[in-house]
Amino acid sequence: MPVPKRKMSRSNTRSRRSQWKTTATTLVLCERCREKKRPHVACGTCGTYNGRQVLDV
């Protein structure tokens, strides 16, 4: 079974990992409480979705 011949350098490892990026979550304002929330998901602050109370807050 083929195996790597050399240990991968710290530099190479770090260059590869430099591409691991994160993206900002898309947020919209809640219709009811104007807090920021994720789109298509019930608001975590007031617990409503589409004008309907979904969660107990």
Partner: protein, 179 residues
């Protein structure tokens, strides 16, 4: 038509998945609403709606079909006596899934699936109401022009209009306004 399920089974295998979905459906009918992962909610929805369709039919054969999935006789009884008749006016879409964000611990996207409660008009009811309004507004137009075509359309409209009008008082008001 439900989307075909892609990817691996839920749980350990096909039998396990069947069991999970049956239990979820059973709990859903027992409690009205359950919190589960988005994936499971999406998978249990077609099954639950099929069960409600059987419940609407309400005969012994459908009861036996439902009993093959939902083991509890009590839950089947509530399904056939309470949940089924509630949806007589509605063609499908008996449940609602609301996403509620990721779960603490494993960050799994969670959702609430619930059986709709009374007070939410189905498409059928809305259409009935609309035809009632149209039929009420129609006589004026027919009196003006009175071609055979319109008269025929009117008589067609009249039957469902009566039903809807009897059920819904607001329809009358809306009709009065449009006049």
């Amino acid at each position: 038509m439900p989307t075909p399920t892609k990817g691996p089974r839920l749980g350990g295998g096909p039998a396990h998945e069947k069991m999970i979905l049956a239990n979820l459906a059973s709990q859903l009918f027992e409690h009205g609403r359950i919190t589960t992962t988005e994936t499971k909610a999406k998978r249990v929805r077609p099954l639950a709606e099929k069960m409600i369709t059987f419940a609407k039919k309400g005969d012994l054969a459908s009861r036996r079909r439902v009993m093959t999935v939902i083991r509890s006789k009590g839950v089947v009884h509530t399904l056939f006596t309470e949940i089924g008749p509630r949806f007589a006016e509605r063609d499908g879409g008996y449940t609602r899934i609301t996403k509620i964000g990721p779960r603490k611990g494993d960050n799994a996207p969670m959702a609430i699936i619930e059986v709709l409660v009374e007070g939410t008009p189905g498409k059928k009811a809305v259409v009935n109401e609309a035809t009632a309004t149209a039929a009420k507004a129609a006589p004026k137009a027919v009196a003006k022009k009175a071609p055979a075509k319109k008269a025929a359309a009117k008589s067609d409209d009249a039957a469902p209009a009566k039903k809807a009008a009897a059920k819904k008082a607001p329809a009358k008001k809306a009709a009065a306004k449009s006049k």
